[in-house]
């Protein structure tokens, strides 16, 4: 790649602080332009809020690679048979028709931050005054020896929703009693901390429904503990006794490799054979973030906790899974929350509108078995060095069935609420 998108970090940080003090106001010729890369939980929300709240004073463009968006959230419920694929797939039509957003269907290949233009795969250029980058994650395939983009056709990751999710569902539905699933769980940090374990619950639910008493689900985890662990383990023992086996690193001793040809997952301790293997590798910010020179050595993007502004460039904001959001987990709820802070800051920059202090929140619901939902959540505020949690909560073990059902119903309401908030209504 040409060097024009990369600039030295130190130099930039200095430049950033200097120009932060001078707000940017509407250009003489035409409206100021906000461009968003990535039409997911973060990007589509940001585009909608800028357009909606600026009442037409800012020209908003959303660049998205895919014609429709399938949510990762509730994709596990699709695997479990609770949702159709259509019900978790959303169109960009309302963003264009009801909010006047220009939706460009195409891949952004790089960002020339000096010229303030996004360069598309077809060579076309999209100029911006403020840029939001919300590309989600890319998978680091070789973090799991033996795994690759090609291997994912046999051992799906399904950690980006779409064809991968459908592939995993087809493979799950084709299993017979006595056949086993092996999941290779991801290392931190990854999107949706409880996601792998909710998915395991959905695998088990499908087995139970079909009366598969001889099938097992084995989890090879690089982590010593995981999100909502006590809640999941209580639920697995209650609903799926003997079906789920979780192995942390102190037991399996480390992952050696996976073999797509044989379905084997080799660890220091033993080799596990899966009739279906779900490999969820390590993750980093979507490639455009790195190409734009917004990432650091962690593979994710440092931001200013009070505004979501990139530490590398004060005209660029990074939100969602791609950013380093301190105590906030990588979730759709978090991305949506961060998007609103960034949208407000951009309106402040471009039109001088009021900027209120940033507030963030997150709640992640998970389904363990029909009508048994659990949740974990927190509120956050910016400090000097990070977005810090100010209060947290989590469902308790041993809660009664009515409360768990209410929690599940709440998650369905949340899904309808957040998708209306992201894609408009």
């Amino acid at each position: 790649m040409p060097n024009l998108t990369r600039r030295s970090f130190g130099l930039l940080a200095g430049a950033g602080v200097a120009s932060l003090a001078m707000p940017f106001y509407a250009r003489a010729q035409g409206k100021p332009r906000a461009v968003v890369i990535g039409g997911g939980a973060g990007g589509a929300t940001a585009a909608r809020y800028i357009a909606k709240d600026s009442g037409g004073d800012i020209d908003v463009t959303l660049i998205e690679a895919n014609p429709t968006y399938t949510t990762c959230f509730f994709s596990n419920l699709y695997l479990g048979g609770y949702r159709t694929f259509e019900s978790i797939t959303h169109s960009y039509d309302k963003l264009a028709s009801n909010y006047g957003i220009t939706v460009i269907n195409g891949m952004a290949m790089m960002v020339d931050r000096d010229a303030k233009v996004v360069v598309m795969a077809d060579g076309s250029k999209v100029p911006y005054d403020r840029l939001i980058v919300s590309p989600g994650i890319d998978l680091i395939y070789d973090s799991v020896p033996g795994y690759s983009a090609e291997a994912a056709e046999i051992m799906p990751h399904s950690w980006k929703a779409g064809a991968q999710t459908q592939l995993l569902k087809a493979k799950l539905d084709a299993l017979e009693n006595g056949q086993n699933v092996v999941m290779v769980a991801p290392p931190n940090p990854y999107r949706c901390p409880p996601g792998p374990y909710e998915r395991v619950s959905m695998f088990a639910h499908v087995f139970k429904e079909k009366g598969f008493t001889d099938s097992k689900i084995i989890i090879i985890d690089p982590k010593e503990k995981f999100s909502k662990q006590a809640l999941f383990q209580e639920g697995w023992a209650k609903y799926y006794p003997g079906m789920v086996e979780w192995y942390g690193p102190d037991v399996h001793g480390g992952l050696v490799k996976v073999d797509p040809a044989t379905g084997e997952v080799e660890t220091d301790l033993d080799t596990f054979k899966g009739d279906l293997v779900n490999v969820i590798p390590a993750q980093k910010a979507g490639m455009i973030a790195e190409k734009a020179g917004l990432t650091n050595e962690t593979g994710f993007c440092p931001i200013d906790p009070a505004s979501m502004r990139s530490k590398a460039d004060d005209t660029v904001f990074v939100i969602g899974d791609a950013c380093i959001a301190g105590d906030m987990p990588k979730s759709g709820f978090s991305a949506n929350s961060q998007a609103k802070v960034a949208a407000m800051a951009i309106r402040g920059d471009l039109t001088g509108s009021r900027v209120f202090p940033a507030k963030y929140s997150n709640t992640c619901w998970s389904l363990i078995e029909t009508n048994d939902g659990v949740k974990v959540g927190a509120q956050y505020a910016p400090t000097e060095e990070k977005i810090a949690s100010t209060s947290t909560f989590i469902s308790q073990t041993g809660e009664d069935a009515a409360l768990r059902q209410q929690t599940y119903e709440e998650s369905v309401g949340w899904y309808n609420g957040i998708t209306a908030d992201i894609f408009g209504s």
Partner: protein
């Protein structure tokens, strides 16, 4: 007068409505009409239908936070329930109904035992898009009981203007109630709420919060803040909200019309 209304309600032919599921109907309806008749007999003959009504009173606790009933009842988060039997759905002037409920009324839905029985069983199935954040009452005998209680309590017509503001009283959140909420600030703060609570006012699994009376809104948030109401998400959300913020949110959401 009372008796007349009751009889009318019971014998009024069922309103044709595409949403009615006939297959789940006959058994319970017949039982209900019978129970209803018995109840009328009991009421007019001076004795009471004690078992049911007492059970109904207990069950009514779930409704009380939003609905007032009996003399002087006013609209709150939900419409008052006086004169309910024989009332056209969505017809109280000045109450912010969902479009769905208003449409039902225009289609001819009238509240009587049969229609209430269906609505209470699963409100969101019977009136999709209703603002009422109630999941439903599964047991037919519970529904019979609460309907009997509602009947016993509901007077034919409200005795005061139900849209008039309630007199001020010393209560939780009263400091915030004194503040004139800044709706613009509320709109900004609302972005945290609308991740779950739909601006359209639709309630599915998450309560509808648009178009509430100011005081009811403020009271509810303070009840979460002080752990009188228990929902972990809401307790957490309200933790850092001060009077100014709560008043602003109440002003903003109160100014919206449900769809």
């Amino acid at each position: 007068m009372r008796l007349q209304i009751y009889t009318q309600a019971i014998w009024r032919p069922r309103v044709p409505s595409s949403n009615r599921v006939r297959s789940s109907f006959p058994q319970t309806t017949r039982a209900l009409i019978f129970a209803g008749l018995t109840a009328i007999g009991a009421l007019t003959s001076g004795s009471t239908f004690a078992g049911d009504i007492q059970q109904g009173e207990k069950l009514y606790k779930a409704c009380k936070a939003c609905h007032q009933i009996g003399e002087g009842a006013r609209n709150g988060v939900g419409p008052h329930l006086d004169g309910l039997f024989g009332r056209v759905a969505g017809s109280i002037d000045g109450f912010k109904y969902s479009n769905a409920m208003k449409a039902k009324g225009e289609d001819g839905l009238v509240w009587d035992e049969a229609s209430l029985d269906q609505y209470l069983a699963k409100p969101r199935a019977f009136v999709p898009g209703t603002r009422m954040s109630y999941l439903g009452m599964k047991k037919p005998e519970d529904r019979t009981a609460i309907i009997a209680y509602l009947k016993a309590q509901s007077v034919a017509a409200p005795s005061v203007d139900p849209t008039a503001a309630a007199p001020a009283r010393a209560e939780i959140g009263s400091a915030a109630m004194q503040i004139e909420g800044d709706a613009e600030y509320g709109e900004y703060l609302s972005s945290e709420c609308v991740t779950c609570h739909q601006l359209s006012g639709h309630a599915d699994g998450i309560p509808s919060i648009v178009g509430w009376p100011n005081e009811a809104f403020i009271r509810a948030l303070f009840e979460y803040k002080s752990n009188i109401r228990t929902n972990q998400v809401m307790q957490n959300m309200t933790l850092n909200l001060g009077n100014e913020e709560i008043a602003a949110l109440a002003a903003y959401f109160g100014s919206l019309d449900p769809k």
